[in-house]
Symmetry: C2
Subunit: 111 residues, 2 copies
DNA sequence: ATAATTTATCGTAAAAATACGATAATCGCA
DNA sequence: TGCGATTATCGTATTTTTACGATAAATTAT
């Protein structure tokens, strides 16, 4: 890495944001998953309605069941939520462990 | 809102994630901006190279200058970074204020 | 003014995300 | 077994994102 220009107004480097490889991909996937209004709305709903089933979310949102199912899959695969099968339905709640991990990672940026 | 099903395995509601309207859009835009590998890499680079100019980032990444410029615009508009004009070049650094705001918002989720 | 340097924007092609209806799959219960 | 309830998946149309080359815009130095 060659020497870089630097302007006087920027604070010097404070930290390193030490992440790469699979962890970085995982973090980017978490960012991507919540970078969508519908999915953010679903997460918000789950915060106040832990344990609700897919149908509840379908009723709450103005979009088709198939679309909700897709969005839930994205949130699940990104690690924001967990789905527990309860009979024919699926009960959702936040994935506390992964959310804590996310918070730890971004705490590295400028903190 | 009708009564909802709830499974025994989910923890009860702990918080409200109290955000909506313009703030929510702003937060989603921040998530979206970092939900891309290239942009995340740019942010990572800026953490350790505060004050570098666009050209430094172009040299560092394996993509075209026009594409880097677009990505920087997304990060700027989302509030992750600030660009200060220095002659013909543009010097970039993290936007500490907005990053702190982001951290505060996600602290509401399950904490 | 002209030229050199640096970045932004335009136009566009390709890839990915989003949304939907239709249908399949899964589970509990009669 | 067969039915109702619930969710997942498939195929597809539309929109959005991403990437590039070409070119314009802005700034400094000559």
């Amino acid at each position: 890495m060659p020497e870089l220009t630097s302007c006087a107004l920027c604070a010097p480097a404070c930290c390193s944001l030490d992440i790469s490889g699979a962890d970085q991909e995982r973090l980017v996937a978490m960012f991507k998953a919540l970078g969508n209004s519908i999915r953010f709305e679903i997460l918000k709903f789950l915060v106040t309605h832990p344990g609700c089933i897919t149908g509840d979310i379908v009723d709450y949102l103005p979009i088709a069941q198939a679309t909700v199912s897709q969005h839930l899959k994205v949130l699940r695969e990104a690690g924001w939520i967990s789905g527990i099968t309860e009979g024919p339905a699926r009960c959702y709640c936040l994935n506390a462990e992964n959310i804590a991990w996310f918070r730890e990672q971004i705490a590295q940026i400028m903190s």
